[in-house]
Symmetry: C2
Subunit: 304 residues, 2 copies
């Protein structure tokens, strides 16, 4: 099945305590699309870039069979540029600058050829725009949504409206607490289930992820990386691997949703090994499945 991805396409300048990379290709839609592309041959990207967007980035999308009919190129404008610096504790970062440029006026228009996509992934953006996307698509089978603290704080009511329309929300632990005013992640996850989504995924960074459904909870381990080289895009990559697996298998059973969480974790564990999309763009299916089995070994135990 095909996956429709809506989000930012950006340049990221990334500083870590160990190295620096200037103007790497990034943005939520890039990570989500690329991660999904390993699972399904039909990824349709919607985003906006400026006249400075390089040909080699277009080539990279093409090489991964990512359809960019929906990537608007504003010739007179500049592509979104984010500049951030990670602390020694890589869970912390400072944004040094955010130049929204053409992304400031982003109003996603879904091309006719995309409208029948059965899987929709709404990258982190204004919840009004997310609903705007949903008003343009025809009966998707699954809608996955990301968000962030900025929208929880500045557009809470609008976010609540969006949550009513989505099937899966992917959120991190701090955001889940902020959204629900519950310190316990278990309470927070269950509370979010009452807001609309049938599936709630709470990402916990180095502690893995939780998948809440109405009648079950899945605790997924984190891949035991000794060093995270660059955490940028890990959350978006997770979302891409997750929806990619579901689009490939078209099965929403609890067992398969759990597999999707692990495939999301697998993809994210590769992304953080190098800057930006460097690692994600050159993965093999063997590497993906090897790591899936590593997750399995990491978490397995048996009754005697």
């Amino acid at each position: 099945m095909s996956v429709l991805v809506i989000g930012s396409v950006a340049f990221d300048t990334i500083e870590t305590p160990f190295d620096k990379a200037e103007r790497c290709l990034g943005g939520s839609a890039s990570y989500i699309s690329l991660a999904s592309s390993y699972f399904t041959g039909a990824v349709r990207l919607v985003g906006v870039v400026g006249g400075d967007f390089p040909k080699k980035a277009i080539t990279m999308f093409n090489d991964h069979n990512i359809d960019i009919e929906g990537l608007e190129i504003v010739k007179s404008g500049k592509t979104f540029h984010w500049h951030g610096k990670y602390h020694f504790d890589m869970n912390m970062r400072d944004t040094l600058s955010t130049e929204l440029n053409v992304f400031a006026d982003f109003n996603p228009r879904i091309p006719q050829s995309y409208k029948a996509c059965k899987y929709v992934c709404l990258g982190n953006m204004d919840p009004d725009l997310q609903r705007g996307v949903l008003s343009q698509v025809e009966k998707p089978r699954l809608i996955v949504c990301d968000t962030m603290n900025f929208w929880i704080e500045s557009k809470y009511d609008e976010l609540m409206q969006t949550l009513k329309l989505v099937d899966v929300i992917i959120i991190n632990d701090a955001e889940a607490r902020e959204l629900t005013k519950e310190h316990s992640l278990i309470k927070a996850g269950k509370k979010i289930l009452t807001l609309g989504p049938k599936f709630v995924i709470v990402k916990k960074g180095e502690h893995g992820a939780l998948l809440f459904t109405k009648d079950s909870l899945f605790s997924a381990p984190a891949y035991p990386l000794e060093d995270v080289f660059d955490p940028t895009g890990a959350g978006d990559t997770f979302a891409g691997g997750f929806i990619g697996w579901l689009a490939k298998t078209d099965d929403f059973s609890t067992e398969n949703m759990r597999r999707a969480v692990i495939y999301g974790s697998v993809m994210a564990s590769y992304t953080v090994e190098k800057f930006g999309l460097e690692r994600l763009k050159d993965l093999s299916w063997i590497e993906i499945n090897d790591r899936f089995r590593e997750f399995k070994r990491l978490a397995s135990f048996e009754e005697i």
Copy 2:
């Protein structure tokens, strides 16, 4: 196989945001012994209490087949009393008072009848005393050791000596980071393996636990409690369930060590449901195995 437990026996006055309990029976040796007693019929306790130690506590130990020949009663003294208050975030607590009383002069003497115990659990105490215990026992098959930040900070070199002699160290995430000066728990756990122990368990509270061996890592989930009623003794209970299972099965294979971590987690998940030892003292084997299977359901996923 029999388990030798050395640690504190205390009264705890516990305040949580929701309730308060005065002078409950507690102390590391009480929790470890009681948790172990569900797995093996032969638990031998070594500790010290004052003349104020109540008969009903003795009866409780007897009822669980915990041998208290090694529990010294100093008639003229008073039992160790700890008073603490938990924050709304129950991972945080303030110690309001610590009256060590007879525990200040604790110098564990191992009764002759205990010396052949094959499983030894050294509760959190001065690492010099922990080594003193080991000098009195005859070739145990497994030595499990707990410690805390206080000893890492005040008796680092002595703790290093103790670590060389033990098989398993159980430590929490903050302590593992402090001991190794590594932020990454993966690096920290691996580093502790080079200090002596063949097995390192890093407890992560609401995020579960990690078991490191020379050639494998196990990530155990946490039981998804919505409310922790009283976290006191959870770590000691974990150690007791862990060593109890191993004493019952006498099998140090990786698979069985993983099971032991889950049984430790099961016991701890019950302890925190009520004040002090209230929940732990009335468990059934059916409850223990039911929860083991809940842990299994929580963590399981399969390749397609």
